[in-house]
Amino acid sequence: MDNVIQLQKKLVDYKTSLFNEGILDDQFTQLQQLQDESNPDFVVEVVSLFFKDSERLFDELTKTLDQQNIDFNRLDAHVHQLKGSSSSIGAQRVQRVCILFRNYCEGRNIEECLKCLQQLKREYYFVKNKLETLFKLEKQIMEAGGTIPVQ
């Protein structure tokens, strides 16, 4: 059982750091609160949808920015979608880059839009990595017979 306690502490510390560093915000907590015995995988499910959706949108964004004549409205619409879904799961830093990106779309600034896309991808893979680590930790605790500590 020592192992479980250690793992639980590791999880709590890890989660706390994610919130402290602004990687995740309160909306993520909301999602966790919606998880229960009847919906034990809710958070993983929503986050998985987010991953799938985001990667699709990155493909679209890349394609759109690759055109001779960039359709900024189309670009903006995609970023808007990504902004929405990142906000819905509490991926704060991704959401913030989206806001910046939309401003550059409005300004029709190709240079900055390209930079934003790169930044967006960085932030996305960063939070993806963090969340996957988080889920792994939770799984380890469950497998060791423990329960996920509620913050």
Binding site: L31, L34, L49, H80, I89
Partner: protein, 236 residues
Amino acid sequence: MTSNGVASWRRISDRIDGFDLSPSDSEEVHVLAVDDSFVDRKVIERLLTSLQLIVDGELFQFLGLDEEKNANSFDGLKVDLIITDYCMPGMTGYELLKKIKESSTFREIPVVIMSSENILARIDRCLEEGAEDFIVKPVKLSDVRRIKDYMTKDVKLGNEGSGGNKRKIRETSDLSSSPPSTLSSLPSSLPSSPPSSPLQSMSPSPSQSIFSSSAPCSPSSTFDSPTRRLKMTLFD
């Protein structure tokens, strides 16, 4: 959940905290959620079902251009609330709201609009058009609880025999086609009639979404106001 977002659960009335819906346990509360984002649909659905409300899929299949044709497929389908996103490809939530309010079949159903953008003019316009409430995304449990509150009031009034629940589709005076039955057992999945609406799909598949040159959801100045909603219409 099916691929087009249809989901329904039977509600257990005695598990609802704080309110007593009706003496009849078969009374179920159905919410139609419309949103082009898979992520948001899943979150809304869970928020609503956590409050014991049943969530059904996409309205667009049923709110086609040919209302008469579609009205028949609604027999037995009871909708107590429609909650819709504002920014969607092809049709905004405002446009959907208008269609609903123009429809003799649907106009009595309360509509709630959600949007990631806290724009006063947008909120006002929706409330003026008859939306019950406006939620700024991301949607939280407190938002959904608030909606549940005014839905409860409405059902209670209906059950006190004050002229019937205005939200039920079975109000025959409002219908031009065959009277549907609503208190009978509800279908566990929505009828699979093919969508007649030009808005075929509400999934965010790019090939089917429509980007207009003057997108209604194009960037506009947003207010910094922290208030999540500005007005709420009250039931009289």
